[in-house]
Amino acid sequence: MSERAKGMNLTLKVWRQNGPEDKGRMVTYRVEDVSPDMSFLEMLDVLNERLILEGDDPIAFDHDCREGICGMCGMVINGVAHGEQVATTTCQLHMRHFEDNAVITIEPWRAAPFPVVKDLVVDRSAFDRIIQAGGFISVPAGSAPDAHSVPVKKVDADAAFDAATCIGCGACVAACPNGSASLFTAAKITHLSLLPQGQPERASRAKAMVEQMDAEGFGGCTNTGECTAVCPKGIPLDTIARMNRDYLKASK
């Protein structure tokens, strides 16, 4: 067994906000002897355990699977959604990517449609309402159809699945200088609009989802590309072009 790697000492500046009505403030914490093998969330767990022992309120943050697939976790780390590690959720970000004695700023997603619930937890129900606005797709219910009854081109199937990997974490909104939810909405629109099953309601779905996105108070897209750069699933920018195309078609 190799000798255990030396622990890291970190200074965290964390956004603390008691509730939706609280004004909130940045609070500085010192965390010592952090293993480089810890994930970012485990590092916060260590700090929270200490805060609880000291009788303080632990830092609230969203998390669930901690495998990078559920979309629950997410915080802006040093000004970058999910931290600077590319294509990585916060739970899969490891402390070895940070320098010893680093100062790390941790903030919640900042967007009016994502109100802070507590500390680093934001309410992302706006995303659910965009999905709901998309409505249904017309598929015959009953026994499973033959796999080859509706042919789908390989390229289309791949692109649809790539779009469907969106976990709805909201990093795109957090990173966008305009606070736009275009990448999320476009990913959801794309994974249906590329498949035959999504064709009957394709245009009306795009229109309804874009209008819901605007109604929630998200900003407009100016094609900065910041969203796709921080997206843990690497959803490409051409999904937004497809959304615009479908929306224009529906608006004619």
Partner: protein, 211 residues
């Protein structure tokens, strides 16, 4: 944003090509300037076609600004609480972050440019000079600061188009997976050609190639 921008880009291409007439001498340049006013004759009377172009451009500029302002206002409303940490741009592309303030600089430049070479208000040759005289006296070596201002503003236009050109295709849904590379390269090439084409005239006047 995309449609009005496209109209303005088409205008810039024509404007740049026309400017290069300055290298063919005073007569060629002045003749071109008078052609712009007699364009469409005898079907249209003097300056009708040019006025129509000016109206279309004016409307495009206003609509382009209106789109930009509403986008900026929506962006402000969508993020009422700012980030404490300085946000680092993760996407590659410096030009994109110059669009808003760059647009304001370009607007101020256009106003000065019209006062300078169209109305002659701030030009030594004034309203009574020929277009060529206004050009040569406006960019005279003694007025190097005017040329400098033009250089800064035109480079700003170049950065604006660097992002704006491919962005228009994206907004109109005309871009797709494989087209981004060629689109962005074309945007960069057109921006570079426009910047060089526009700057070569004032610089040539300043260093005495055109006199």
């Amino acid at each position: 944003m995309a449609v009005t921008g496209a109209v303005l880009v088409l205008f810039l291409v024509g404007h740049m090509v026309g400017n290069l007439k300055a290298f063919l001498g005073a007569d060629s340049f002045n003749e071109y300037a008078s052609f712009l006013r007699t364009m469409g004759e005898p079907l249209l009377t003097y300056r009708v076609a040019l006025t129509l172009v000016e109206v279309v451009l004016g409307v495009c500029i206003v609509l382009h600004m209106w789109s930009a302002i509403s986008l900026a206002r929506r962006a402000g409303k969508a993020r009422p609480v700012k980030y404490a940490a300085r946000r680092k741009s993760q996407a590659n592309g410096y030009a994109v972050h110059t669009m808003r303030y760059g647009g304001v600089i370009i607007l101020l430049f256009v106003i000065y440019h019209l006062l300078d070479l169209t109305f002659g208000t701030v030009n030594p040759a004034g309203w009574d000079g020929t277009p060529y005289e206004r050009l040569v006296e406006g960019f005279a070596p003694g007025r190097w600061w005017v040329t400098l201002f033009y250089v800064v503003a035109v480079v700003m236009v170049g950065l604006h188009l660097r992002h704006g050109l491919w962005s228009a295709f994206q907004t109109l849904g005309l871009a797709s997976g494989r087209s981004y590379r060629p689109l962005k390269l074309t945007a960069a090439a057109i921006s570079a050609v426009l910047v060089l084409g526009f700057l070569v005239v004032p610089v040539a006047v300043m260093i005495g190639v055109i006199k």
